[in-house]
């Protein structure tokens, strides 16, 4: 793709290159649903989060942390809170000004296993705030898994120090009535690497907006997403990667499978390459597989390129149905339809799931998805 083609893309989406950001909720009008940032979201289901509320629920979770990890629940005025976040919408600003506490995780060295945060939120309305900070040269993985039945407005700040490698997985396995709106603000120091993974399995409405700020040269962001949306699920991912310094890399791969008449996914991939970001390399890809009629996947990639001095920039987006020929081929080898479908879905998701890099989590995700496809694993015949 040539640069001029890429620049032309600007005209096709309405996302402005400059984001309005504020910590004051009143700086953001109450969304009505027509705004560019909200037009894909069923705003009626999130109304409660548009006005301040007195929380009726709070994260009642647990943290399973190996050596090298410290964690604490701190007051909102703690110096570690608010390092990165500049709210970009009303819900995030409200959550920032009303959260009464924050979970802070600090990672140093190379913890021997992933940090597991079990986000169990009791029914009700909740504000959440989390700070995950990888100190310079740390190599660590944090898996946050959300479950339960709640309506949550959340901010997550992810700070990756110079030379650190941090993997953060946000796994949503909510009850059918849960609503989860979350802004993830990521800042990368020089030569830092983040692997940011969003896994959406269940929940009525999950809308996660990761923002990446490249604050030092040579940083790298790998943004992965896996979703299996069924009936009554709306999964929305809104990415904004802001390349402002030279020689940084971003690589985005989001894949969704949709099954069910009212299954919805939305993927917005905004990448900005500012004039100073010479030597940027960025690629983003979103693919969606529709298993049934009625399911709908919206996909809007958008590149804003303000310098010609880049290594590469590209995007691809494709939404399609099952390939009948693939199913025919598998079935012609005796494999029943449901199992052929399972193989194709597994195959479709395999490349992104394999990149998560946390094997038991990968298996858990695949097993959960296969269970949704009506498959229970057979016991191996070892004799």
């Amino acid at each position: 793709m040539t640069l001029s083609q890429l620049v032309n893309e600007r005209a096709t989406t309405g996302t402005p290159p400059n984001r309005f950001r504020s910590r004051n909720p009143d700086d953001f009008a109450v969304p009505r649903g027509r705004e560019e940032e909200w037009r894909f979201t069923p705003v009626r289901q999130v109304r409660e989060l548009f006005e301040p509320f007195a929380p009726t629920s709070v994260m009642d979770g647990s943290v399973d942390a190996p050596d090298g990890v410290t964690w604490a629940i701190v007051a909102p005025d703690d110096a570690r809170v608010g390092q990165v976040l500049q709210p970009g919408d009303r819900v995030s600003a409200l959550a920032f000004s009303h959260a009464r506490q924050a979970l802070v995780l600090e990672l140093t060295g190379t913890p021997e296993r992933p940090v597991l945060v079990h986000g169990r939120i009791t029914p009700g309305l909740a504000y959440e705030h989390m700070v995950i900070e990888a100190k310079p040269h740390a190599r660590a993985t944090v898996v946050v898994d959300y479950a339960g039945s709640a309506t949550v407005a959340e901010n997550v700040e992810i700070v990756v120090g110079a030379g650190a490698h941090l993997t953060v997985v946000s796994l949503q396995q909510w009850d059918a009535d849960a609503v989860h709106l979350s802004s993830h603000a990521i800042r990368l120091g020089a030569d830092a690497t983040v692997k940011h993974v969003v896994v959406n399995l269940t929940g009525r409405l999950v809308r996660i907006a990761p923002t990446v700020e490249f604050a030092g040269r040579g940083a790298r962001a790998e943004m992965l997403g896996v979703g299996f949306a069924g009936d009554g699920h709306h999964f929305e991912s809104r990415l904004y990667l802001d390349h402002a310094v030279p020689h940084c890399t971003s690589d985005v791969l989001y894949k969704n499978v949709l099954s069910g008449e009212s299954a919805r996914t939305v993927w917005i991939g905004d990448v900005r390459i500012r004039p100073a970001a010479a030597g940027t390399s960025t690629y983003e890809m979103n693919r969606n597989l529709l298993l049934t009629d009625g399911a709908r996947a919206d996909s809007v990639p958008n590149l804003e390129i303000e310098t010609g001095d880049i290594i590469g920039a590209g995007h691809a987006s494709a939404t399609g149905r099952f390939d009948d020929l693939q199913l025919f081929y598998l079935q012609s080898r005796g494999i029943p339809f449901e199992e052929a479908q399972r193989l194709v879905v597994r195959g479709f998701l395999a490349d992104v799931v394999d990149r998560i890099g946390v094997p038991d989590l990968q298996e858990r995700v695949m097993t959960a998805i296969e269970a949704r496809l009506g498959f229970t694993p057979e016991v191996e015949n070892e004799d």
């Binding site: 012609s332 479709f348 191996e380 070892e382 004799d383």
Partner: protein, 271 residues
């Protein structure tokens, strides 16, 4: 002892105004231990016959019957046909991204045999079959047919033939696109399957071999050769018929000369 019986088979493609009849009354009986070769010009409907037997969704059977030992094949789903003992080595095998060959083979064999193969035996069985076909073990970890060369795809089809052990196998141009060595390896694979299946007490499988060239028939001797033309079998004979077709082409059945020399892009006398 198995018998595949095709009676007065009529098949169309397309819908509504676009409907075209491709098969116009095919009659053929393939029994255990027999090798039938089908030769015919491009577009005469050979693959349509093969795909219709396998149940490809693109084709609509509008008349006639296909039975396997009396059971109505056309009433079966695609996977039931395979489990009933039919196998089609496809002219254009399909790529299935993200599904490894080993996982695919294991799933298919489990489905066809009705139980998961025992792990120890299975590894040995696959390795042996791959070795005979001179397939690198690395293929087991690759995605099904993805990025395979034409010849590699054909070897992979025959690997499945060996593992799935059908009672009736249809090979659609398995020889096309194979170099001389690959043709020998693949043909030997087929012959090995035909003879070992017989030794297993199952009785030799029946085989329907679709080809444009006699070169594969030097390895796999057909008992019968059929000429396919314009959607039906127009002549049947012994293996000498194949030589005659290769020398003369299909002109005497009404084909233009170009249909003869245009086969697979190579003139018949060059092979």
């Amino acid at each position: 002892m198995s018998t595949l019986e095709i009676r007065d088979l009529h098949v169309t493609v397309g819908e509504g105004e676009e409907t075209t009849e491709i098969l116009k009354g095919v009659d053929l009986t393939v029994s255990s231990g027999q090798t039938h070769a089908i030769m015919g010009p491009n577009g005469s409907g050979k693959s349509t016959l093969a795909y219709s037997i396998a149940g490809h969704p693109k084709y609509t059977v509008v008349g006639g019957s296909v039975t396997l030992d009396g059971a109505d094949v056309l009433a079966m789903t695609v996977d039931q046909r395979a489990r009933a003992g039919l196998f089609l080595a496809m002219q254009y095998p399909v790529e299935v991204p993200g599904v490894s060959v080993s996982n695919f083979l294991r799933t298919a064999v489990t489905a066809v045999r009705g139980e998961a193969p025992k792990v120890r035996h299975w590894v040995k069985e696959v390795n042996e079959a791959m070795a005979v076909l001179e397939m690198d073990r690395a293929f087991a970890e690759r995605s099904v047919n993805e990025g395979f060369s034409g010849g590699e795809k054909k070897r992979h089809e025959i690997l499945q033939l060996e593992l799935l052990k059908p009672r009736i196998a249809i090979l659609d141009e398995t020889d096309s696109g194979l170099d001389v060595d690959a043709l020998r390896v693949v043909s030997e694979g087929v012959n090995r399957y035909m003879s070992t299946a017989a030794l297993d007490g199952e009785g030799a499988p029946g085989m329907l071999l679709i080809t444009h060239y006699t070169r594969i028939l030097r390895y796999i001797r057909p008992d019968f050769v059929h000429v396919f033309f314009d959607g039906r079998i127009v002549e049947s004979g012994g293996s000498d018929l194949a030589d005659r077709l290769e020398a003369e082409g299909y002109a005497r059945f009404g084909a233009a000369e170009s249909a003869h020399s245009g086969v697979d892009g190579a003139p018949a006398h060059a092979v």
